[in-house]
């Protein structure tokens, strides 16, 4: 059965183009995509993931405020019973130009399983999903 992804652009971010590209790319790769579009709150991601029994939540952000928007996301997932759900974040997720390794570390520490920098092609995300969701493992972290 196709794996279900919840996809959206977090916070007050209205950048819709990248979201549509990812939507098509993931569908094309055989995923069942629940696309929430732009301006999605943490709660909306989580509620959609609960109803659709999603295997992963893919968070996009372009406007530089991603770090603020993503704080506490993992904890809220845990609280909502989505313990161990695969969490990806990608885009232009911090303010200004910062070394990507540092940014990645910060988001990994927040509980995201994978962090993608600006300019990542959709194929990289698809590859990562296929890896993380292979076999019986429904989620990226040990659950």
């Amino acid at each position: 059965m196709a794996r279900t992804l919840v996809l959206g652009v977090i916070g007050a971010d209205v950048h819709a183009v990248g979201n549509q590209i990812l939507n098509y790319a993931f569908q094309d790769a055989g995923f069942h995509v629940v696309n929430l579009g732009v301006m999605v709150s943490q709660e909306e991601f989580i509620e959609a993931a609960v109803e659709s029994a999603a295997d992963a939540i893919i968070v996009s952000s372009l406007y530089g405020h991603g770090e603020l928007d993503c704080q506490g996301f993992r904890e809220k997932c845990d609280e909502a019973g989505l313990k161990g759900i695969l969490l990806y974040v990608g885009g232009n997720i911090v303010v200004g130009k910062q070394p990507f390794e540092e940014v990645e570390q910060r988001f990994l520490k927040m509980g995201f399983d994978r962090v993608f920098g600006p300019g990542t092609p959709p194929e990289a995300g698809i590859r990562a999903l296929n890896e993380d969701l292979s076999g019986d493992r429904r989620c990226g972290r040990s659950c």
Binding site: V14, V34, M39, E51, A53, Y63
Partner: protein, 466 residues
Amino acid sequence: MRPVLLIDFGSTYTKLTAVDLETPSILGSAQAFTTADSDISIGLNKAMSILEHSCGAIDYQAKLACSSAAGGLKMVVCGLVPALTGKAAQLAAFGAGAKVIRTFAYRLTSEDIDEIRQAEPDILLLTGGTDGGNSENIIANAQALSCDGGSYPIIIAGNRSAGRDCTKALEGSGHPVFLAPNVMPEMNRLNAGPVQEMIRDLFLKRIVRAKGMSSVSEVLDGILMPTPSAVLEALTLLSEGTERTRGLGELIAVDLGGATTDVYSIARGDPSNPNVFLRGLPEPHAKRTVEGDIGMRYSARGVIQAVGAERLANIASVPAPAIMDAAEAFRSDPSKLPETREEQDVDRALAIGALYCALARHAGTLERVYTPIGPVDQQTGKDLTRTELMLLTGGALIYAPDLTGIVNIALSMQDPTALTPRHVKALCDSRYTLSAMGLLSGVDRETALRLMLEQFGKEGAYGAVQ
């Protein structure tokens, strides 16, 4: 003459409307107290004899009825996430004319099960999960309900992958089980139609009998639907029209009762401004909500709680304690009519407060979010700001000397973020025609529409569509 009798067994009054389909015209109407506690046919016969007195003995071709007597159609709904399948289930039940006594989300606890058993719903609607989505929750809830010892029917309308497991879990319990398509088959898509049809079917076949109404259903051609469902049918017809006759367009209706307030909107509710983002579950074109804590008598206290005593006191130009006292008096004696000047002022203020509150809860809201690219407006629910027609019914409104004043104050009190109508033409359904016409629409839509237009039609709206 082709006479038809339309009956509305209300919680307080049994209302009759006799219609001649040939002319077509309303022959007469009559009402008597509903006698649901003893034998409902006593009240019906009394109303019949009053009607006969005014328009003579008539041999009716058909007798159709709707009912909200004996507590109406009481439903409990269960969803998974409150804002998603919980909301979808609630909207579906309201639209089918039910009184939703309780909405549950996530797993039902043993306390919840006890509460449901005590509430004795007429129907329980069990939902949860999009198709192919979460199935554990709905199955666990079906298992929990299977051993509660109750015998009320359960409609399962959740994740289709879980349907069979739920049915199996409830096998052997006292509950008759009915499987319906999912109320939310995919994220943010409401699919209320099939469930509503099933609710209506169950109401017709089982609930009416269970409520001791079989004595009348033999002489009638059936109690077809719950009263609110008939009202919703009538309003939809009045709004949309038929192929031959144009309707009145988008409209809102409010039934301000003693215990509850029903609000209906027949409107798309799309954002007035194309730059507004729409979020949340899209709501139905014909939407009904019920405010259980807002009413003129039993729920007078709820109005004060929601609006504030000070604010109501200002409207009524009385001191705040007077509002509390009057509300208490109305609550303890629901049949009380306002007599003194002060009581009349308080009654009017309560009506304004109830209308204000029920409209605000029914309509959507607009929220402004400041983003790096500037302010962005987000809409949740329906935008009714451009709806210009409002139908009103309920004792406090139909006897009000300044209905327009009441409506205008209730609208002007709204928050700027509330997407309630800005200006409306207020019309009064003083003869409770709507439920009768909803019933009639099942027999003859054209006649039902024309009779309603005669009563509510504004000039120019009544005419054939070219």
